[in-house]
Subunit: 421 residues, 2 copies
């Protein structure tokens, strides 16, 4: 396709979504829930089909020698399909955000004001290798009364095409207005460049992927951008930490699933506790095949690790690599995190309540954890059913974004002839 | 000053604000309120000084033959100064947004989650002729724990300089961290272009002014933009309207203060009631010196009005000019508004509850009014003390923006060793 044809295709998708959004905005919550239930049932019923097409993508990724972390994000299995279906059902069980009265009051002038929640309209979702995003995003957007335009990564094209076909058929069969789920098949990047400029048809664009992809969209978009941010996350083991808990959390934060944004990239350890925790942690990381890099003080305790360079403190590995730094104080830890962190998820392990409180208040991030793993920063874990992404920006939504973050508000004012005096 | 010098000045202001923001974020609510009270007292005490410098600006604007509506926005009098001081005191009386727990829950994994409200950090406010914005914006930003960088219009430079001097002295005297109020004196536009690119120092920029000014900032900014939107507002007089109420509201919406964003620009009248309401309304508009333009049907009823062109339906006059259009149905009114309106403030006058409900739900705007004047869409009227502006965007904040809209959120997670299984 040439650029004009791509543009035409993208505009056609966006216009179809816009038309559907008008009808979808009037659909009652029960009807939207019925659509989501039908989607969940179809996924489970047609799981063999999904796995068949996913295997094509996974094999192609392996043949192309793509990184292990990417293949992990790409691969589906029966459990992951069940998780998608369960996510949809959890979203069904959430209260309907549309029409929710967030606040209501009667100011002195005499009118009554309702501040209500309303759908955004049309949401364009641009993502990379995880096929579950197709289902999670569609579910959350439809629950919030929005039409969705999906544009997944080329490496997941067969999985995504199969998923969209299955959920769309189920959704329209259950009464979803035609056109409310749009899937852009072409993997040509020009399609994204066109899509993010359709500000009269698309209300927001949500990019979820590499920093470069997000930056490119931010620079080109005239549609407002709500980005899934990069995660350069830290765990700080304070001198007053419970050692067993610290080891458990620091191991989990790095190794439970290294390829995702809320995994730890740098471990900070107070020098007074470094000799106690590092040897055991190092053993666990070794066993898990995780490469460790450390500063000089770390290497004086666990000698078999590489030296960390300055660049390591600013690197999101998304892989089985960890940098470890010793710090002399809580202040040094907070300073390091505020300087190098991406404002995503930051944890402290300590039994010192004062230190914990200072860390939680002074670290500037979307989520701050006391005695828990950064891996818990997740819409599913938080009880949102699933998530549309995790925002590290400060406007509109910060941290994991669920159904409420896919809405806007409207003041509805009821008067009896009131005017401005 | 050359461009390098301007850049240096702007960076110095931004760094001072950033430094102050760190301290300001830790200042208790009582201390922030004490600062606002001191500012309010100083304004009243030094009102003669303010009026003296404002008169210089007003005279210059008159000499330059600037439009009457602009001079109205620029001019201060004792009442407007009292209003600023009262606005600050109302902001003091609002609950402290900082640290507010918006939601808290314990998901199945066992951690406890608080979603809390925190300051944005550093806010840059770029505005035009209304000097009260200087005080309103400073008050709201400080209440929400943010440092502020003020950049007013050149036509109000003397008023703004005097206001900043007075409120800053009072605020620092009452314990505000040094640097939390920054005022950019140079009226060179290059200063704005530099300011909106300082994304490591400034958290958001709020432009409040002409559409061209806002578009230029949106195009150049790397700092996220929260814009005060243009107001192309309508009032629709339904066939089931109370005639006396309709006349009162339609007159107020246009004439009470024509130069502001929530004033009506186009009046829509159902054809079945046009003969009843238009002659009386026309008489009132004439008496107020307001020019009326109408479609052919309007002119067949009130013959002494100009013909409205297609361009009139898309024009924000901000002046004593009104376009009037007849419509054959509620649907036609909603369609016209959704097509030509700017998504700001839209009103219906009717005693038909079904028609009202459809209008309120189907018109896509930040504020929708039933039987009340669009002029009421205002932070002060709504009980927010004052407002930082009125947003017509859908992300982060929509409609009048008060203290809460100048904050972001943070998830604070309290664990006991929880990890991701």
């Amino acid at each position: 396709m040439n650029i004009e044809q791509i543009k035409e295709v993208v505009v056609r998708h966006a216009m179809a979504a816009r038309g559907a959004a008008l009808k979808l905005g009037q659909l009652p919550g029960d009807a939207r829930n019925a659509v989501l239930i039908a989607m969940a049932e179809a996924l489970v019923k047609e799981k063999d089909d999904i796995l068949f097409y996913n295997e094509i993508d996974v094999q192609a990724a392996k043949d192309a020698k793509l990184p292990a972390a990417l293949i992990d994000r790409l691969a589906l299995d029966e459990k992951r399909i069940q998780d998608m279906a369960r996510g949809l059902r959890e979203v069904v069980s959430l209260p309907d955000p549309v029409g929710e009265i967030i606040a209501d009051w009667t100011p002195p002038v005499g009118v009554h004001i309702d501040k209500i929640r309303v759908p955004l309209g049309v949401i364009a979702m641009i993502y990379e290798s995880r096929p579950n995003v197709t289902v999670d995003a569609a579910g959350l957007c439809l629950k919030a009364g929005n039409a969705i335009i999906l544009r997944g990564g080329s490496e997941a094209i067969n999985s995504n095409r199969a998923l969209v076909k299955i959920i769309s058929r189920a959704a329209y069969g259950a009464g979803l207005p035609q056109g409310a789920i749009q899937f852009i098949e072409t993997t040509d990047r020009a399609a994204v460049a066109e899509l993010v400029k359709l500000d009269t048809l698309v209300d927001i664009v949500i990019p979820r992927g590499s920093s470069e992809m997000i930056r490119s969209i931010r620079e080109n978009a005239t549609v407002p951008v709500l980005a899934h941010g990069k995660g350069l996350c830290h765990t700080y083991i304070d001198k007053a930490a419970d050692v067993r808990m610290a080891v458990k959390i620091a191991f989990n934060a790095k190794c439970q699933r290294p390829g995702v944004c809320n995994a730890m990239e740098t471990l900070l350890v107070h020098k007074d506790i470094a000799r106690t925790v590092l040897p055991e942690l190092n053993k666990l990381y070794r066993q898990a095949g995780c490469e460790v890099r450390g500063d000089e003080e770390v290497r004086s305790i666990i000698s078999d690790v590489k030296i960390a360079s300055e660049a390591d403190w600013s690197t999101e590995y998304l892989d089985k690599i960890l940098s470890i730094k010793t710090v002399a104080s809580l202040d040094e830890a907070i300073l390091h995190i505020n300087r190098h962190g991406s404002g995503h998820s930051e944890a402290i392990v300590t039994n010192d309540e004062t230190a914990a409180r200072r860390f939680l208040m002074e670290v500037d991030a979307a989520a701050v954890f006391h005695n828990a793993s950064t891996r818990l920063h997740d819409g599913g874990v938080f009880g949102f059913g699933s998530e549309i992404g995790i925002s590290t920006q400060k406007l509109h939504a910060r941290g994991t974004m669920g159904v409420k973050e896919l809405t806007t508000t409207k003041y509805v004012i009821y008067g009896h002839g009131e005017i401005r005096e």
